[in-house]
């Protein structure tokens, strides 16, 4: 069975997007900081968030010689999108560890009162297919 490594969710954490003249920053920093705190409590070493522009905010996460990568972006005013990558070089027992990482993340998201309506997706699934944007339709 293929792992679902992406998630769409809503959050009470307000958007921190900055749209000032001459300085713009996509939102998601507060979200990844909240996720980072969760992962640290689970024993992961998490590096400071990195601004990935359109791709959102990113975290480099390590534990037991394995490395994971997590990205969070604001799809629109309401929906948030999370993507995880297993960046470990060591292959075995890769799946079990990665599955534990994703399960822990899911448990923490559901336990934390600030995250709602969490839907996990396969990497190939388009989050906007589930939650279409307010405008912009396919042109003939």
């Amino acid at each position: 069975m293929t792992l679902k490594t992406c998630a769409v969710f809503k959050s009470d954490i307000p958007s921190d997007q900055i749209d000032e003249e001459g300085f713009e920053q996509f939102g998601g920093l507060n979200l990844v900081e909240a996720l980072s705190a969760m992962l640290v409590r689970r024993g992961y070493r998490v590096e400071p968030p990195w601004d990935g522009g359109l791709d959102g905010w990113m975290l480099n996460i390590r534990k037991d010689g394995r490395r994971y990568w997590l990205q969070v972006s604001e799809m629109d005013a309401v929906q948030r999108y999370l993507v995880c990558f297993d960046m470990s070089w060591v292959w075995l027992p890769r799946r079990a560890r990665y599955e534990a990482f994703l399960q822990g993340l899911d448990e923490d998201l559901r336990k934390d009162g600030r995250f709602h309506e969490i839907v996990w997706l396969l990497k190939e699934q388009d989050p906007y297919e589930l939650f279409p944007p307010a405008s912009a339709t396919v042109t003939p």
Binding site: S15, Q17, D19, G22, F23, E24, F26, G27, W50, D51, G52, G53, L54, D55, G56, M58, N60, R67, W69, S73, E74, M75, D76, A77, V78, Y81, V83, F85, M87, K123, D126, P127, Y128, E129, P132, P133, A134, S135, A136, T137, V138, T139
Partner: protein, 225 residues
């Protein structure tokens, strides 16, 4: 990329001053990027930290360039940067895609100079910062509009599905799915996703290897009667 390069060269022939101005701007930008004294000190502590951080990042990139000097890095960078240049888009294009007039105006604006580009080798690969954030790895074509950059990013990165717009334009957002924009195939992603300076560099290295091979063959040919 090729058309943009030809257009740029053609414009340069008819208007040499434009090329000279670009080079002058490039030199001035290099000084602003690398020398803390070239820009005025920020009014706040946070602003000053940010200004010095940016300069530090640019100096890291310079170290990568210096390391690659022997194989033509800075030359490829200068040539490739011009080759990536794009024509400006108009709001009408985005209105035609279904955006509101305000959103269309926003999408037709030039993609911000400080905006993050597309990383050819993704950031998650954990490559050294000097390369990862350099113009050899970051694609951000000069003159590209916001909307066209979103599209380009989708074309060359399968994992990018869309993004929000300015907060003032919410709830509108940009979705590749809604616009029918698909990623290119592997070859297209490699070609269009690689920054001009990297292509110029790789092309230069290939020409160097080819030229060297030709030279060896030519000399050997001369030895043989």
């Amino acid at each position: 990329m090729t058309k943009a390069a030809i257009d740029y060269a053609r414009n340069g022939v008819s208007n040499p001053r434009s090329v000279a101005n670009d080079l002058k701007r490039g030199a001035r930008q290099a000084r602003i990027d690398l020398d803390p004294r070239a820009t005025s000190v920020a009014t706040t502590f946070v602003g000053e930290v940010r200004r010095n951080f940016d300069i530090g990042q640019n100096q890291g990139e310079l170290l990568f360039d210096l390391g690659s000097l022997a194989v033509g890095g800075p030359y490829a960078k200068a040539v490739g940067r011009f080759a990536d240049a794009r024509a400006a888009a108009t709001p009408a294009k985005y209105i035609g895609q279904g955006f509101s007039e305000r959103a269309a105006n926003y999408l037709a604006e030039p993609y911000p100079a400080r905006g993050k580009g597309h990383h050819f080798a993704p950031k998650r690969w954990g490559l050294p910062k000097g390369f990862s954030d350099s113009e050899f790895n970051v694609l951000k074509p000069p003159g590209i509009s916001r909307g066209d950059f979103y599209k380009l990013h989708r074309n060359v990165d399968e994992s990018f599905h869309g993004a929000g717009l300015s907060k003032a334009l919410r709830p509108e957002s940009w979705s590749a799915k809604a616009l029918g924009i698909e990623p290119y195939g592997l070859i297209g992603r490699l070609w269009y996703g690689s920054p001009g300076p990297l292509k110029a560099r790789v092309g230069g290295m290939a020409a160097g290897v080819g030229g060297g091979a030709y030279d060896v063959e030519h000399r050997e040919g001369r030895r043989d009667p």
